[in-house]
Symmetry: D2
Subunit: 312 residues, 4 copies
């Protein structure tokens, strides 16, 4: 199974489950994967930024990716391979593809500034991993500090036939989706898949601008799948109604730094993973924050029963 530009739907960004002592919790990987499949995931993305990938050794990273891939044989799994150097990126890519990954995802390193630097970087990355490996371009200026114009994305797409998807998480980013889709309509750029990240904060409108789906890790992937489905079905108001019901919690989860603690906490509460532990460095939730999340869950639960959880 190879990733291509027809990918759509929901590719959740999977967290890496840990025990409180920092060991990887492989059983939770299985349970989490099953949950994603039930939730309507059409693919899966592992070892992203929110998957705590930089905290893993390479051998661990390969083991984690492999476990996800083996548990989800029916859907394409994308593996994040961003690395400080091309040697590590290449060996991780090979290991992931050998393990059955459908493709890899690459983010630009923060040092890139000019258009040409960005374009050159991805050319060299593709030379390093090989032109036969399908890959996802991650565009996340808020965290990565690299700003790509629509024109630069077009140059990258044009230079590299193996780039089949954009993980769109520019913020603000609605006009960028429109610009890219406009390029394709005008015959200036081949069609690519666009899945949206940035915690899902604008998924409601991103779908209307032409996105193909979601690639983010909000603790209610089932909601994300529903919004994508409803928008594709033309049920705009229903999509917004569901999205808006979750927005107070989604916004809370989207906080930089503390967001992953919120996400893992809710996932633990929903039984998706056994523990909300993060590897260091990584902050936990204060009692205040936990109480706020529980309050938000209760409020979401008035509209979406999936947020009605048992006692903490």
């Amino acid at each position: 199974m190879r990733l291509d530009n027809t990918a759509r739907g929901l590719y959740p960004i999977a967290p890496t489950p840990f025990f409180t002592d920092g060991r990887i919790d492989y059983d939770s990987i299985d349970g989490l994967t099953d949950f994603y499949l039930r939730a309507g995931a059409t693919g899966l993305t592992v070892l992203g930024i929110m998957g705590e990938a930089p905290k893993l050794e390479q051998s661990e990273a390969i083991a984690v990716a492999t476990r996800f891939i083996q548990r989800a044989p029916g859907i394409p799994v994308v593996v994040g391979v961003s690395s400080p150097g091309f040697a590590a990126m290449t060996s991780l890519t090979r290991a992931a593809m050998d393990a059955g990954a459908a493709g890899v995802m690459i983010a630009p390193p923060p040092s890139l500034r000019t258009d040409d630097q960005i374009v050159t970087y991805f050319k060299q990355a593709v030379e390093a991993i090989g032109p036969e490996v399908p890959w996802v371009l991650q565009d996340y200026p808020l965290t990565l500090t690299v700003v790509m114009t629509p024109g630069v994305i077009r140059r990258i797409i044009s230079d590299n036939p193996s780039c089949v998807m954009l993980k769109h998480e520019d913020w603000p980013g609605l006009e960028k989706i429109s610009a890219l889709r406009g390029f394709t309509r005008e015959g200036l750029m081949r069609e690519i898949s666009i899945l949206c990240g940035n915690g899902g904060l604008f998924l409601d409108f991103e779908m209307e601008r032409g996105a193909d789906g979601a690639m983010t890790g909000y603790a209610f992937p089932d909601m994300l799948a529903d919004v994508v489905r409803l928008q594709k079905a033309g049920e705009r108001d229903a999509a917004h109604d569901l999205f808006d019901a979750h927005l107070p919690l989604l916004r809370y989860e989207q906080q930089q730094g503390v967001g992953l603690a919120v996400r893992k906490y809710v996932m633990m509460r929903r039984g998706m993973i056994a523990s909300d532990a993060q590897r260091k460095p990584g902050a936990g939730l204060t009692a205040n924050a936990k109480a706020e999340v529980e309050y938000l869950l209760t409020r979401v639960g008035r509209i979406d029963s999936r947020a009605v959880l048992g006692r903490e």
Copy 2:
């Protein structure tokens, strides 16, 4: 009227109204001020970042501040005086105070990195403007790139008796409010007023953490005033209900860069200002974006009738 640490409620961040040719629209300043007073503002903040202050010449800045002050004689007006150098900061401060401002607001320049650099900067700023001018410390890392720990804020408060308020817009920032209030409870820091910015994105919980009110520019200041009032009255659920009804639009307005265009557009639609024009550089809204804002207004209007506007 002098700003002091008992300030609370709503201090809207006022935009500067322009005509489409870039001239300042003083009549709209009057109308806008009247609107704020009716909306329940207990104070006013002018010439902030979202007030396009850097686009004004100093003489214009003084004229704008003066107009707001004269139209709102009953409430304290805070004037943003952040400048690349202390000479300009000092002369603007003097002009503002002479015109009747209640105090000034100072943001740290982006070059500051270490704790000591930050503390020293504000000491020098106070030497420059004079120790008798009440001032507001602006803490906005997302835009200003300067990160102040609670400990650094405490040092600034302790060094400078004239600092009476924190404009809190760290993101995430809930724990910071709790930490600062904890300092005061434990007798480690004198009491200051904390008003919250960052577009209002976390105002619902910020009030619960101990904030005194809002200092932000969302196009529905009346909603902000209501949320502050409801939280102060202990009507938590009602506060969240109202806040959540606005959150989809508030989030849309909070987009970096394009956010001000959204804000001014909605203000124009509500009749608060005559035109949504910005001085260059400043992007307008695309047709797509306008349609999205109108859709969001309609949806907010189902809960809050103030969002029901006539035809565009």
Copy 3:
């Protein structure tokens, strides 16, 4: 007198002389200007970053520029007009040109990232100041954090006929000069003047790569003028011999932050200005640093007698 692309030689970056109480020392402006003229300056640049321009109020800035211009009626004076907004940039430009400036210098604001953002900014700046004002493009990534490729500089030159000079201070930057001169040789870019800054650290080779001269503020402008002259005369070894004799001191002066203190101290020691005072914020030299500078002066003095100064 209007600046044009035939400018060459030495345009010293003039410091702004202050008294120790922070007032501007206009008499020192006169003496400094006279010194520059005797040193062989073919032009003059005032209100640059090292001229402490951001620490001046606009009225002061105009007064300082005017004083320099009036004292140097025979040579073109370039006035730095970089400002946070176009309104201030425009009014300062008008005042400077009215006072007799030959042109202005504009640096990009640090927020610019993509090629298009940079190109657009300068287009808007020229709209703001007017297409008839000759101007210098400042390219100083180390301090400004904006990186312009040769291609971007070419676009700016091509968009704006009034851009007649590049203040080249990229670091490293030798290949950039070669690339730009190559564009012109190949008919891809009109000819511009290139004067070099960055403290003069690579002036020796920059001249060999095709630069037209120096625009920097090293405390021995007479040495800079000599190096430019010797290189133009083909006396390569002599140019390097003189440059190398100064390099230990020049390097010492080029330190970020503390560099201006070194520069003003040496200028004071040479009688170019009355005091080495800076406006706040600005650090002075420690006793250790002063002793090191004196030691370096002694060593330079073994080759270049202009560095032999009386007792401190």
Copy 4:
């Protein structure tokens, strides 16, 4: 052999030698190590930033470190272990110490901003690698963008008994050395070893401020060793004479980005390594740049015969 705070002299930052096809050239590691020992190195630092460490896979990194260690059994070898996460840092540290390293070097990740964030990071790093591993704190703001005050360095030293050395490469940094030595003199901080980096640009004065030696990679380590020795012997003028003779070339080598190409080129010309190849991404020298380096070598050779090389 364990690194401790008595370390002094010259610890060259070793480049990693590659063949033109990107493979590691282990024979050149042997030759290079022999050269360093003959040049007077009292220690060795491998896998630093200029050692292209991020371009190596971890297995390669371990092999490179091991080869250096085995070839230099008589001197302590410091291994750079900076990593995006603590898991990789820990495993690399263990492998290096098992292979006989004397200690490791850790640089702060660019995301750190506040004093507390920096202090916490190093505490967690020491927890990760173990308190028994001697380590070097790298302080290099120009490249790493993390600014540590002397006070923060003191906190790190105080928190972590295993921190025995500072790789000082702040710029400007002379006052920092004086401040740290002052702390120790006043009994406020235990004594640490301070070796200086930043290409050696201020080694002449750093020694006079109290540094213990050099830890940098200039292509003439023999000159660095001599300057350290002469300064320690009180032969100040002789130290500066030698240093100044090299400064034009040293400055040329210190250019960001292109500097490593200059360094490897000169090392190849001196027979220290077989090829000046870098792994991608990494630019080579243009013909112009090579000619400039050759010219500089000729000029250095007039004073220091070690720079007289055969025909290119």
